[in-house]
């Protein structure tokens, strides 16, 4: 009996609160804020608040076209695979914030890092299964981009772990910061979060790192063959990542989630995407490997020296 209720509890937290429904709702509001602010910056009016939801509903009642040459099973299942990974990551991160000190398991930071890379991998799989040359070009860009940003991202995440002398649970890191002050009050923490913010932008696939999508070059690239509810699922995954990633960063660098910290990170994302052109993939790789990785390594060294 107890086992059943614990499974029900886990299902509830995965599907409703703080998992799928809750994160998706926040994500939709965030993506509305993104679109509205972008519109205002560009002297446009912008959409009404329910527009992201309306888009999803509209997409989900549209027909799905499966390309003739596609490998069907992978093409159809990849978006769901990515969505569930993103929701699971979001659930872990939220629970660490809600039930401080008593949720998760040792090493869940590593699991979250792993889960956060899965949506991109799922998208690559599904997109390359479509057999479209533009999609394959988008996939090759996404793979290169991923190889570029994962290295500095993971190095920057080690900074809080070093500072807290080896805590690997997200909730422990939050508790540690509550006792000893947030990591961003140190030089190493500031450097690490700057690196992590750039990597977050690339993980979200937003300008200046949207070359895998690049509408004016390769017509949507990795998304090109997706339509109907599958496209809706991909958009929803991106929306959920737009909540999961900033909340993850606030949790491990900035003493846990709060609305204003989330809004600040969101504003940084929006401003970055509105004040830059898209960079070329080779420029992005150079940026992440040379500049960001060195910055992350400096942050790690400073953290080891106690700054």
């Amino acid at each position: 009996m107890e086992e059943v209720s614990s499974i029900m509890k886990d299902l509830f937290s995965f599907l409703i609160f703080p998992g799928f429904i809750f994160t998706a709702a926040i994500g939709l509001v965030a993506s509305w804020i993104d679109r509205k602010v972008t519109a205002r910056v560009q002297w446009r009016v912008g959409p009404p608040w329910y527009q992201p939801l309306a888009d999803l509903v509209k997409l989900s009642i549209k027909e799905i076209t499966i390309p003739k040459n596609a490998s069907k099973a992978v093409f159809l299942s990849a978006p769901l695979f990515g969505l569930s990974a993103a929701v699971l990551a979001a659930t872990f991160i939220w629970q660490a914030n809600i039930q401080a000190g008593s949720s998760g398991f040792t090493g869940d930071t590593v699991v979250v890092l792993y889960l956060l890379t899965l949506p991109a991998i799922a998208l690559m799989l599904g997109s390359s299964a479509s057999g479209n040359p533009l999609a394959s070009l988008g996939v090759s860009r996404e793979i290169k981009l991923m190889l570029a940003y994962e290295l500095p991202f993971i190095i920057s995440i080690t900074v809080p772990i070093i500072k807290s002398s080896g805590l690997l649970r997200v909730t422990d890191l939050i508790a540690f910061q509550a006792m000893n002050g947030v990591f961003v009050s140190n030089v190493s923490g500031i450097l690490a979060i700057i690196v992590a913010i750039f990597c977050m932008q690339a993980k979200l696939g937003l300008v200046p790192f949207d070359m895998a999508e690049a509408e004016t070059e390769i017509m949507g690239g990795i998304y090109i063959e997706y339509s109907g509810i599958l496209l809706a699922v991909l958009k929803l995954t991106k929306t959920i990542m737009m909540v999961a990633l900033p909340v993850f960063l606030t949790s491990i660098f900035w003493g846990g989630f709060s609305a204003w910290k989330y809004v600040i990170l969101l504003v940084v994302i929006i401003l970055m995407r509105n004040t830059n052109p898209r960079v070329r993939i080779d420029q992005a790789i150079r940026f992440f490997w040379y500049r960001m990785t060195s910055l992350a390594i400096i942050a790690v060294l400073l953290a080891m020296l106690g700054f």
């Binding site: 910056v41 040359p133 200046p208 690049a214 017509m219």
Partner: protein
């Protein structure tokens, strides 16, 4: 491996007109490019032969929506050349003012599109926002925002109202700080420079080989501008300079266009000060037989119109050559060796205008083979010229 093809067109979010660039790629690198235009042939030259000289002014205005004044400008120059008449000075100033206003709005339009192609949508929206005041000026002057219908063989169709001049001057002067902002945003932005500097370089020799015109040529260090080289309208009555850059890359082309915005404002302000009073039109009664050519430096380069008259009511032959026709071909040089990401902005950097440039192609719809190739079309064109020459004893 090298024969993977990435299509840009015939319908593609990059450009709003039907065009087809077949990029042969090796990974991200473009190894060859096929350029196909001619999806929307409208037979303007043939229609022109069935319209009266006055109606043709409106017809050629519709060749292009963006440089809608360039074609009437070149056409009326051709008619004036054919007649050998002196156009009233006030009309010359009016033509110059309209021509330069158009250059401002066309360059701003390009700047916005270039931003969009680079994924920088803020530049796109801002450039188009500051294009609006220019369109407002057009609306005040002519009642229209895009097809102004201000030109007429032998003069101008409408007069400018002196009462509007202070407002026009004020609006234009208010644009200068906005141009400064764009200049800063392009020249000082490290990411834009990284994306455009050294990209799609056309050397001076390439420009010479492909006979490029306009900003495309001036960005490679060619001092070439019909307004200076063969002055017409009021361009020799005002002070201005030809903008050139040495780079030949996308960045240099952007800088040339931005700096030309200042020159255009400068020209218009001088014209508004100097414009004399008087008639705006000599009423042309009849057309003698003969031929005339007219040129105009459109925002994209030199527009060329040739008119042959047999003394009748319509042109016996009307030939149009738009600047994009030569500029688009230069992509063959500029794109090869660059990446796909850069190819899109290089294709856009010549400010292509396909509707001006459409040529006819005859394709067998069953086999997809072209019935006429380029050589055949040249041969047909020569035969037609011979026929005309015999008919009119030239």
């Amino acid at each position: 491996m090298a024969d993977k093809i990435i299509p840009i067109g015939p319908y593609h979010p990059l450009q709003e007109e039907p065009e087809f660039f077949r990029l042969h790629v090796d990974g991200e690198k473009v190894v060859d490019i096929d350029i196909e235009i001619g999806y929307n042939h409208r037979a303007i030259e043939k229609i022109s032969e069935s319209k009266s000289y006055d109606q043709v002014t409106f017809l050629v205005e519709r060749i292009c929506g963006i440089c809608s004044t360039s074609h009437p400008f070149a056409y009326t120059n051709a008619i004036d050349d054919l007649l050998g008449i002196e156009v009233p000075e006030r009309a010359l100033y009016i033509r110059t003012i309209i021509g330069e206003l158009e250059r401002i709005h066309s360059h701003l339009l390009w700047l916005g599109l270039a931003g969009h192609f680079l994924g920088y949508n803020t530049v796109w929206m801002w450039a188009w926002r500051y294009r609006e005041p220019v369109l407002d000026i057009f609306e005040r002057i002519s009642g229209n925002r895009n097809h102004y219908a201000m030109f007429k063989p032998g003069g101008a169709r409408r007069d400018l109202d002196e009462a509007d001049f202070p407002w026009i001057k004020k609006t234009l002067k208010s644009l200068i700080p906005k141009f400064d902002m764009f200049k800063g945003a392009v020249i000082d932005d490290p990411v834009i420079r990284a994306r455009t500097e050294g990209v799609g370089v056309l050397t001076k020799q390439d420009v010479y080989d492909y006979a490029c015109v306009g900003p495309t040529a001036r960005a490679s260090g060619f001092v070439m501008d019909v307004r200076k080289d063969d002055p017409y309208a009021a361009y020799d009555k005002v002070e201005w300079k030809v903008i050139t850059q040495q780079g030949g890359d996308v960045f240099a082309k952007a800088v040339v266009r931005i700096l030309e915005l200042y020159e255009s404002v400068n020209i218009i302000l001088q014209c508004l000060d100097k414009i004399p009073k008087g008639p705006i039109d000599i009423n042309i009664k009849d057309m003698p037989a003969g031929e005339g050519i007219g040129r105009h430096e459109a925002p994209r380069g030199e527009v060329f119109h040739y008119i042959m008259s047999d003394g009748g009511n319509s042109p016996a032959r009307h030939k149009v050559r738009a600047p994009s026709f030569v500029n688009i071909a230069s992509n063959k040089k500029a794109v090869i060796g660059e990446t796909i990401s850069d190819a899109t902005i290089i294709l856009a950097a010549v400010d292509p205008c396909y509707c001006c440039t459409e040529r006819m192609a005859v394709v067998d719809h069953k086999t997809g083979k072209k019935v006429f190739d380029g050589q055949d079309l040249v041969r047909l064109s020569q035969e037609k010229t011979e026929k005309l020459r015999r008919k009119y004893n030239r």
